[in-house]
Structure formats: structure tokens, C-alpha cells
Symmetry: C2
Subunit: 223 residues, 2 copies
Amino acid sequence: MGEPGTRTPRERYRAQVQEEIKQHAWGQIATAGASALSLNAIAKQMGMSGPALYRYFTNRDELITELVKDAYRSLADTFAARTAAGTDLDGLAQALRRWALDDPQRYFLVYGTPVPGYEAPDDTTRITTEILGHLLEACAAAGPRGPVGWHGDGAGDGPAWHGDRAGEDPTRPPSPELRLALAFWTRLHGVLSLELAGHFTGMAFDPAELYADEVRSLTAAGH
Amino acid sequence: MGEPGTRTPRERYRAQVQEEIKQHAWGQIATAGASALSLNAIAKQMGMSGPALYRYFTNRDELITELVKDAYRSLADTFAARTAAGTDLDGLAQALRRWALDDPQRYFLVYGTPVPGYEAPDDTTRITTEILGHLLEACAAAGPRGPVGWHGDGAGDGPAWHGDRAGEDPTRPPSPELRLALAFWTRLHGVLSLELAGHFTGMAFDPAELYADEVRSLTAAGH
DNA sequence: CGCGTTCGTTAGAAGTTATAACTCCCTCGG
DNA sequence: CCGAGGGAGTTATAACTTCTAACGAACGCG
């Protein structure tokens, strides 16, 4: 089994066209949002007529799903690169913020409004667990002292994680690392989401300061 | 000047049909999201043919804008009712959570993914300032001790608020009430948004506990 | 060199938003 | 009471969308 990436020249061409389609799709999403993504417009931009794209993606939803997967992959990579350089929560937070500001619509494609019926494919959930793995690693390195307590400091035993043992009691307090990771995730997403959505425009303060403040609330020992 | 609400029977009928349209629209949004809202489908459900709806809303965007305004109004009302019953942050947090869980798509219509070009109309921003007014009231009643500090406890002077004085320096630390209100807003939105989007499904913990934990992080004195 | 897979094309169905033109009925003013 | 006007709803139509079907042509492998 040779390289699975590029085998025959046909598959090479196919992958290249697929990539170009996704590139134009990202352009459209950045300017008009994911709901306004038009296959016809993409085809016109690429100089070919509508239905040709269906050779590369079975339908519009599959294209969007692929973009979502790429976005997850991109976030996982930045997290991996950051944790490789040092497992500090502050660095991870700054990397997350840069990733979000770099392409707001990409952020919303991952963490924005969900489509009610949509179910993420299996490989997507695999990437999310990888992302949370990096986060948990940094949380474990940050030490057990966390500013957040579950039930006012219940001693969580073991990493109660993602279907850890089926039929687990959900009310049991999770591990300190998970509690810190959840606070990291929700607090930073809270600031980023509202900032990127423009809910802070017109208010006389700097969102970066608010973000730094929330990061500090996580990294500071909960004395 | 009589009641501006219902004057002639014609206007009464018009308002009633408008309300019925919005009702069907909410139904569609709840089941398929706002992007899948179809005027044709609504008209068919109401037993009349497509273009009739354009007598009541100039276009699809205006209908959605009206729904957004209603959602804001609904949140402002629940906040007003709650603060009238007692200006405690915990009660406000529980009211917010109930309002969000009551209709997730309504929540996302307000705080979800924004359309890049969209600008909220003036009356919408007026309602948002009202909502934040209730929140600030509760924050002021909660006392000056906040768990969050700007620049490690800078003494904010006066309510640096929403275009308070034009040309204000955005880097100046805002008031303690505003800092607490922002933490309330972002932290609770962080949990609610991810929970409603389904990012916690499959993880062995109760989102309500996480929410209560974050509320505790706000109401507890930052000793 | 041929044969088959794949690509891109046009045609077309079914859906959408939105406008134009027409009818009908209700309401308001004389 | 009665007529004129305006609002409501209708069909027809344009322009757009996703997506399927059928056809032709080009590319690459044996």
C-alpha cells in the first residue's frame, strides 16, 4: 500500500479540483456566511457549469461537512502545535483566540448555530476528542488547583470522559482536569463567540482585555 | 390619540394574520433552523398561496428581523419580571437558562451565528441596552466585590457604557458592575451556547451542574 | 492502439424568493 | 344608501437555487 494521498494523475487532478472548490467555498462563507453558500456560484467562479461539482461532492451538505471537518482539523493542528511548544493554558488560550479571529466564519462553522437535524460524522467526533485531549493535557500540567469546584469541591475520581464507562452516573463530579478544561472551553468560547458576533461593538471596552481577564481567571490558582 | 394597537377592524385582522405568520415561522425555525425558513411553506400551511405573505412582510429578511426583535423583547421581559421579583444574580441566571432551554433556536436567533453583512436595526439595540440595564442593576445590587478584575484590579470610574462619551479611551478599565455583568454574560453564554449546540452530548456530566458552577463563580465573593 | 472510466456538458424537474398585474371585497366618506 | 378607493389574495412570470439524467468527449491504463 503506497502513499494514499496521490496515486494516479487522475486522482491527483481530482484532489486538486476538490481543494479548489473548497477554497472558493471558504471565500463565499467568509463574505456571506455558510447559509449563503451556492454551488452554482462556485462553479461559475471556476469557469465550469453547475452540475460539474457533483462529481466531487454528492451534495451541498457533504461539501459543508467537509469544510467543517477541515475547520476541526485546523483547530486540532494549532492546538497540537501549541502544546508541543509548551503545555501552558495561557499559550493555548492565545492560540485559540488567534485561530478564531483569523477566520470568524470558520469559528462559527464549528461552534456556531447548529442545524437541528444534523449529526456530526464519526471522524468529526474523533477530531473533537483529540482537541479536548490536548486541552486536558494542558489542564493536567496546570496542576490540580483550579478556580472552579464542582458541588463546592467534590473529589472526582479518574477521568470521567466521553463515554468513559457506559451507563456512568452523569451526576458524579468529574475530574479536576475536566472541570478546568470545561471552564476553559466555556469561558473562552463565551467571550470569543459574543465578540465575533459583534455583540460588543459600540461598547467602550477592549474585548482582548476581557479575554485576557477570563484567561487569568483560569490560570490563577483558586486561592 | 386612541390605542395604537387595535384601531380599525382591518388593522386588527392584519395584526392577527401577521401574528399567525410569525407563529408558523417559529414552528419552522424550531424544527429546521432559521436558514430553512420558507415563506412558501408558511403560506401553504396557512392555506394561501405564496405571494400573499408579501402583503405582511416586504421580504424574508424583514420577517426574520421581526422574529429576532420578538426574541429580544421576550428576553427583556423575562429579565424585567425577574429583576422585579428580586435583583439577585442567581435568580437572573436561572431565568436566563430557562429562557434558553425553553426554545433553543430562539436563543440562537439572538446569540448564534451572525450574518456577515447584517446590521441590527435601532430598536433592536434599544432592547439590548434595556436587557443589559437589568443585568447591570442586578450586578450593582450584588455589591462591588467581584471575582473578576481588570488589569488586576484597576479602579474603574463611572459606568463606561455603550458609547457613554464618544471618543472614550477603550483601554480604560470599565466599572466593577460592568466587569461583573460582562463575566455573567460571557460565562453563562459560553455554557448555554455549547450545551444547546449539543457539544456536551456523550460526555458524562450534567450541563446544569456546570452552569450552576459558573453561576457560583460569579455570585461568590472574589475572596 | 483501443477500450473503459471519468469528467464536463446541456436539459430538465422541483423548489425557492420576489414582482407584476388582475380581481374581489370591505370600508369609509359623501 | 351608494359609490370610489384601497387592501387582500389570486395567478403568471422571472431569476435563482439544488440536484438528476443523459449525452459526448477526453484521458489513461492495459
